[in-house]
Symmetry: C2
Subunit: 102 residues, 2 copies
């Protein structure tokens, strides 16, 4: 029901970060204090985790959740660009317009 593109995108960022860290879903779930099926739902965008769960997962992946004024989002996005020598982008915005040319 209502596969929110935002949730899909968020889950994709989690997955990329997890892959980059070479960890399994179970390891992240354990660190984030949730079950594997639940972490899977979040990573695939099938469920909307709670605020506390989000933070736990982010930290398990070496990241933090931040509230950024919309005016500063572009500046921060460019700061996070890995200079085009790597194609994984750990940062995530709730802005769906972040979809750039694949």
């Amino acid at each position: 029901m209502a596969p929110d593109p935002f949730l899909k995108d968020l889950g994709m960022h989690f997955r990329k970060a997890r892959m980059a860290a070479g960890l399994s879903q179970e390891q992240i779930a354990l660190r984030a204090n949730i079950s594997r099926p639940r972490y899977r739902d979040i990573e695939t965008g099938a469920a909307a985790a709670r605020a506390t769960t989000l933070v736990n997962i982010a930290r398990a992946l070496g990241m933090e959740i931040m509230l950024i004024p919309q005016a500063m989002v572009p500046a921060i996005q460019s700061m996070l660009q890995p200079g085009a020598d790597d194609d994984d982008r750990p940062a995530f915005t709730s802005d769906v317009e972040e979809e750039e040319g694949a």
Copy 2:
């Protein structure tokens, strides 16, 4: 219940942003597509909103939720410092260590 300090802090940031925008709880709740009692719970840290709800509230307040690698958090925090001429800080980190003065 376990009044998570993280939720308190998150709610405080929402409240500051809302005050700065001169809006009522009801107006934000309406824009974020949730009920006022629920927005109140989130603002006071009494409830942990879902990921989708968090984004809706953030946007209603002119902000976005971002996933930031922990290594970059300090740099971004300093970027968000309002030059010391204003005491409201719209940005928010899940890092509890952000508690500075008062």
